[in-house]
């Protein structure tokens, strides 16, 4: 029997539930930690950012209108699919230079993190919302609502870091346009394959690979993006993006030193929530 030809995977972008190549037709070469060729990944352009924002905007109202319980179910389904691909993720992380034990720990951590956030879908309103005492014949409620379309500049931690910034954005009903880690983009696209097969509506999560410095400013200046998470943006780029984001008063989450293994708390979810307070007359 002759030797099999290797079947290599084409890593593309993830926009609106589909896997298009970059509009620009460009690719970047991704090497492993020892400098050996791993794959060609798509190098997204500003027009891919534009298309991703359009897809995210289109999906946002429907995603936010689902019940928290349903969003939780869908995100838990993502965790199930992640679990099924554990081996593949471990291999890919080893390609980026991690040892077997470290890679396994990172994949397990990412799956557990995803499940943890999925659980918050129908609980965050109880924690951040309130029934307010007012001096009048009214019920007065404050409830959290999603901000809208959130741009995410993902950190260099290729899987655990990505999951830790992405899950808290979408669990509350936002939709996301994510610029994946520049150094190791492949696990992000494999995560996209997981998302595409786990009932997440197209457009809720959009993943772009390419150069941060090229893509982040377009996301920051885009008038139809409501918030931006600059976690993965290095100093100068973060400052530029924050300046551009001010133009339409985007919510900005500045980069801080994160320990991805630590208990994340609710801060990343509440950063992209707005509070709506409603007065209901009583007794009429």
């Amino acid at each position: 029997m002759s030797e099999r030809l290797s079947v290599r995977k084409t890593y593309k972008l993830f926009i609106g539930g589909a896997f298009p190549r970059s509009e620009s037709g460009r690719t970047v070469i991704v090497n492993d930690a020892k400098g050996r060729f791993l794959a060609n990944a798509a190098r997204a352009s500003r027009k891919d950012v534009r298309d991703a924002v359009v897809a995210a905007r289109k999906a946002q109202a429907g995603w936010a209108a689902r019940t928290g319980y349903n969003r939780g179910q869908i995100l838990y389904r993502v965790a199930e699919m992640l679990e099924g691909r554990r081996g593949q993720f471990v291999e890919e992380l080893r390609g980026s230079g991690l040892g077997k034990a470290a890679a396994t720990a990172e994949v397990d951590g990412a799956i557990d993190r995803w499940v943890w956030y999925a659980g918050w879908a129908d609980k965050i309103a109880q924690v951040t919302g309130s029934a307010n005492a007012v001096s009048g014949p009214f019920f007065n409620f404050s409830t959290p609502e999603p901000t809208g379309v959130v741009g995410v500049i993902a950190p260099d931690s290729p899987l655990l870091g990505l999951v830790s910034v992405l899950a808290p954005v979408v669990v509350t009903g936002n939709t996301a346009v994510v610029v994946a880690a520049e150094s190791a983009p492949l696990p992000a696209i494999t995560l996209a394959e997981v998302l595409a097969t786990s009932d997440v509506p197209g457009g809720v999560i959009n993943l772009l690979t390419g150069h941060r410095a090229e893509l982040a400013p377009w996301l920051a200046s885009h008038q139809d993006v409501n918030a931006i998470d600059l976690t993965g943006a290095p100093g100068d780029l973060a400052a530029d993006c924050e300046r551009a984001a001010a133009d339409n008063l985007k919510r900005v989450r500045r980069p801080v030193a994160d320990d991805w293994a630590a208990d994340p708390g609710t801060a990343r979810m509440t950063a992209f929530l707005e509070t709506k307070t409603v007065w209901h007359p009583v007794g009429i």
């Binding site: 924002v53 200046s221 008038q223 139809d224 993006v225």
Partner: protein, 314 residues
């Protein structure tokens, strides 16, 4: 190109009209579709794009044709027609506002002094299924109320049954009612099935006196497509060569993005020629297209992507 020398007076000679329409060369379907697709790949950038966007805005027939149209909605649409982007005075105004005939008076009052035309659909739009005197009364009412353009629909049933003479006579009668008012004839190409029928209907409408031929009502899918518009643009080009009279073209329905609009402009320039590249001879029937044109225009002037939050809803 058909020989028009024998075509002295179609109304008096039904057989000649039929012969002339049957004698039109058939459309090469694959060729027309490939030509339209090829022209749609043209890349229009920078200053050419800015020019195309402004030209497209000035060609828009801003349209609202819903059962739920109110006088207030028509007034809002008219305000938008006069000042598409209130924050930027350099944006040109649109060509016309297109409404149902009972709302013409409202639109005429709202557009007084702006120089924007009021187009009214008439003749039992969109189906065209009504007796001729009802169609004429519909037309007369719109003209009395001040419409400067009439968009009539042809009787597709009669056309498909082969009764070209009936379609011809109706257009002639409506044109007589219109007088100097511009008459646009809607062919409803989505119901004509073949490109050959589109070519025949185009010639029929032009021979009967149409000032414009329009693809569709917007109520039938498919509405305007590039190949259909290509066939109609060829017809107006050939008609001018044969008779010396220039007729305009208006694709309508399904044109939603700036990219679509620019494709149509390329098609006009390459098929009929630059003579048609003015609002006087080419129009785009649309409603949501205008917001996308404005959004792209602002992207060119400010350098950042805009969002629908910053433009009026309609």
């Amino acid at each position: 190109m058909p020989d028009l020398s024998t075509f002295a007076d179609a109304a008096a000679a039904p057989a000649e009209l039929r012969g002339l329409l049957r004698g039109l060369p058939p459309v090469d379907q694959v060729g027309a579709e490939e030509r339209a697709a090829r022209l749609a790949t043209r890349s229009i950038k920078k200053s050419a794009k800015a020019y195309a966007i402004d030209l497209a805005i000035s060609m828009v027939d801003l349209t609202t044709l819903e059962g739920a149209d109110t006088p207030g909605k028509v007034r809002a649409l008219c305000a938008k027609a006069a000042h598409p982007d209130p924050a930027d005075a350099s944006v040109p105004k649109v060509a016309a506002v297109c409404v149902y005939s009972d709302l013409v008076g409202e639109a005429v009052r709202a557009l007084d002094g702006t120089g924007i035309g009021v187009a009214s659909v008439a003749t039992a739009f969109p189906s065209g299924r009504a007796p001729l005197d009802a169609k004429l009364a519909d037309t007369r009412r719109a003209i009395d109320d001040g419409a400067s353009e009439i968009d009539m629909v042809i009787d597709r049933g009669a056309f498909l049954a082969g009764d070209h003479q009936k379609v011809f006579d109706e257009i002639v009668a409506v044109k007589a009612e219109c007088g100097d008012v511009h008459l646009k004839v809607i062919l409803e190409t989505g119901e004509l099935v073949t490109y050959d029928n589109v070519r025949r209907a185009s010639w029929l409408a032009m021979l009967a006196g149409a000032d414009f031929i329009k693809t569709s009502t917007g109520k039938v899918s498919p509405a305007a497509t590039l190949p259909v518009t290509l066939v109609m643009l060829e017809a107006v080009r050939d008609f001018r060569a044969a008779t010396g009279r220039q007729v305009g073209v208006k694709p309508a329905g399904g044109i939603r993005t700036t990219k679509d609009a620019i494709k149509y402009l390329v098609l006009v320039n390459e098929t009929a020629g630059p003579d048609w590249l003015t609002p006087e001879w080419f129009r785009l029937g649309a409603s949501s297209l205008l917001n996308d044109l404005l959004m792209q225009r602002r992207k060119l002037t400010t350098g950042v992507y805009g969002g629908p939050d910053y433009f009026t809803m309609d």
